[in-house]
Symmetry: C2
Subunit: 328 residues, 2 copies
C-alpha cells in the first residue's frame, strides 16, 4: 500500500513536495493543510483535499507521514512537537544552533505518542551534515570545509530589502574560487569568512534614492555583509524579474585528511550540489526521508531522528535485496 | 572501554588498518593474524601479538571486531562466513556480481552465532554505493554515472603482466574529461565504456621482446582493453620504481536528475574521491565500519549488513548529542 503523505503549508516547499510525490510510485498525496482559507488554494494534484491547518487532527488516520513546510523562525519550533504528538513528521528545521533544543522537544512528543519525527532534513542541514559525518569518521586526522553557492540566500536578500530606499533585492553567495581550489588540492588552510565567500547583491532602488548610501549601508551591515567582500549592482525591476527570479543554490563539503604511519598520504573527499531550485531539491530530500519515517514507525521505532540516525536503505523504495544487487 | 580490533591478513590493507587504528582513540589493535610464520612478521605497533591464522579462534574473547584483509577472489568467500560464526567481522568483498550470494552466506553464519558481519566496505563498493543510493532516492527521475580514476587498477595491471615478454606493468584508468564535463553540466548522455574511460599502461618489457606485439596484445585483450582507447608506454624498471610505485586512485559518482511538475529544474549531485593511497583509504573506511559493527552487536543486532544498512552516526566515536551540536 502506498505511503500516504500530508503536506502542512503550501508555499515553495509544499509545492515542491507535491511535485516530488509524483516521482515516487510508492507514495501518494493524501491532503494539503493550510492556514489560509482552504477554498482559496488551488493545488496541482486532482482529487486531493485541502483542509485548514486547524483541522489536521481530524485527518490523522488518513496520513502516514506529515511533512511540515513552515519556516524555522516561528513555525517549526511550535509545529513539529505539536504534530509529532499525533503524526509521523518530517521537517527542514535549519537554525543550526537551535537544533539540539528542537530535537529534545520533538523527541519528547514523538516518544510519548509512539511516532517518528525526523528533523532538520534537506541539504544543509541534511546531506551536507551527512557528508561531514562520513568524512570525519573515515579521515579523523583532517579538516572540514563547507562552501555555499553560487546561490540565492533568502536571509541575506531579506536583509538588503530592509535597507531604506530598496524596493527589491537578491543576494548571491559565491565561493572564492582560489580558496576552493586550494582545499581541493589537499591543502588545509585556515580560512576567514571573507576568504571563503563573496557576496553579490542585485538591488532595485526607489526612484531618486541615494544609491551611494544604500551601497554603503549594505556593505557595512554587521553579521550579514561587513565581514565579506560585497558587490552591489543596481538594476531595474524588469531586469530583476527577467534575470533573478529563479532560486538556484548549491555548495560543496570537502573533507581533507591524512593516513599512514607518518601521515604521508593525503585524501580529498568532496560532495557537491548544483541545484536549479533550492526549494524543490529540499522537498525531494524531505520526501525520501518521509519514506524512512513511515518505515521506522512501522518497525516500532519512536522518537526524534536526524539524517545521521537513518539507515540509508530506508530512503529507497527498493528492498535490501534489490539494492545489494544493483547499487553495491 | 576501547574497541579491540583484530586484523586478519597483513598485506597493504592490513597495514592500512594498523595505521588507521592509531588515528582512532576509541580503538585498540588487539592482535594480527597471518598465514605466514608469525615470528617472520614485524608489525609497527609495539606490544601487539602476531598469531597464526589457524589459531584465531583461541583468541576470540580478546577481540571485539575482526577485520578481514584477504582478497575477494579466494580468501573472503571462505573467510567471512567462517569467522562470522565466531566474531563480529568487516570485509571489503568487491566482486560486485557475487555480493548477494556472499551476503546470504555471511548472514546465515552471523545470525546463527549472534554476531554482526558488515561486508563490501570500502569506496566501491562502499562510499560510492552509498552515494548511488542517496542520489537515486532523492532524485528518482535521473541517471547515475560512475567514473573511476585517475588511478591504478590492480586487476588490469595484473592482466598486462601476464602478456608474454612483460616484466612489470602498471595500468591507470583515466576518466574522459569531456564526458565528465557533460555529465557535470547536467546532461544525461548514454555513454559507452570507451566514451567514459581511457586506459594508460606503463610496461617494462624483457630485453629484445617484440614491443609491437606486446602493445597489440594488450590493446586487443577482451574485457580488459578491447573496448577502450588504450595507450601503452614502454619504460625501464628504474622508471617504474621511481614514477609508479604509489597506489593512487579515486573517482566520481554523479546523480543528475530533474524535479518540478514538468521536470523543469535540473540538479547535479557529485561525490568525488582523490586518494593518494587506495589501500589506506579503504582501510580507513573499514575501521569506521568496525566501530559500527561493535556498536550494533552491543545493541543485540546480528546478521550480515552492508554500508546501506548502517545508520551513519554509528561510524562516529561521538555521541548523538555531540554530533547534532557540531555537524548538523
Amino acid at each position: 500500500m502506498a505511503i500516504r503523505v500530508g503536506i502542512m503549508g503550501y508555499g515553495n516547499l509544499g509545492r515542491g513536495i507535491e511535485a516530488a510525490i509524483r516521482q515516487n510510485g510508492d507514495m501518494t498525496l493524501a491532503a494539503v493543510f493550510t492556514r489560509r482559507a482552504p477554498e482559496s488554494l488551488t493545488i496541482r494534484t486532482e482529487g486531493v483535499p485541502v483542509y485548514h491547518a486547524d483541522d489536521a487532527l481530524l485527518h490523522k488516520d488518513e496520513i502516514d507521514v506529515l511533512i511540515l513546510c513552515g519556516g524555522s523562525a516561528t513555525d517549526l519550533p511550535v509545529q513539529t512537537p505539536l504534530y509529532a504528538a499525533h503524526f509521523n513528521v518530517v521537517d527542514s528545521f535549519d537554525t543550526h544552533a537551535a537544533i539540539p533544543a528542537h530535537f529534545a522537544k520533538v523527541d519528547e512528543a514523538a516518544r510519548a505518542s509512539g511516532h517518528v519525527g525526523i528533523i532538520s532534513v534537506g541539504w544543509d542541514p541534511g546531506m551536507f551534515s551527512l557528508n561531514r559525518l562520513y568524512g570525519s569518521a573515515i579521515l579523523p586526522d583532517g579538516a572540514d570545509y563547507t562552501f555555499w553557492g553560487k546561490g540565492v540566500s533568502q536571509g541575506h536578500s531579506d536583509a538588503v530589502r530592509r535597507v531604506e530606499g530598496v524596493l527589491d533585492a537578491r543576494q548571491y553567495t559565491v565561493p572564492v574560487e582560489s580558496a576552493l581550489s586550494a582545499v581541493r588540492s589537499g591543502e588545509t588552510p585556515v580560512l576567514t569568512a571573507r576568504e571563503k565567500h563573496t557576496r553579490v547583491c542585485f538591488v532595485v532602488a526607489e526612484e531618486g534614492a541615494d544609491k551611494a548610501r544604500i551601497e554603503r549601508e549594505i556593505k557595512t551591515m554587521p553579521n550579514y555583509f561587513a565581514d565579506y567582500d560585497t558587490t552591489v549592482y543596481f538594476i531595474t525591476a524588469e531586469e530583476m524579474k527577467r534575470d533573478h527570479s529563479g532560486m538556484p543554490h548549491g555548495g560543496v563539503v570537502i573533507r581533507s585528511g591524512k593516513t599512514g604511519f607518518d601521515g604521508e598520504h593525503r585524501h580529498v573527499i568532496e560532495y557537491s550540489l548544483k541545484l536549479d531550485s533550492n526549494p524543490e531539491f529540499t522537498s525531494s530530500v524531505l520526501v525520501a526521508y518521509a519514506r524512512a519515517a513511515a518505515r521506522m514507525h512501522k518497525e516500532g521505532q519512536a522518537g526524534a531522528k536526524t539524517v545521521l540516525d537513518v539507515p540509508p536503505a530506508y530512503l529507497s523504495a527498493k528492498s535490501g535485496e534489490e539494492l545489494r544487487a544493483s547499487l553495491l
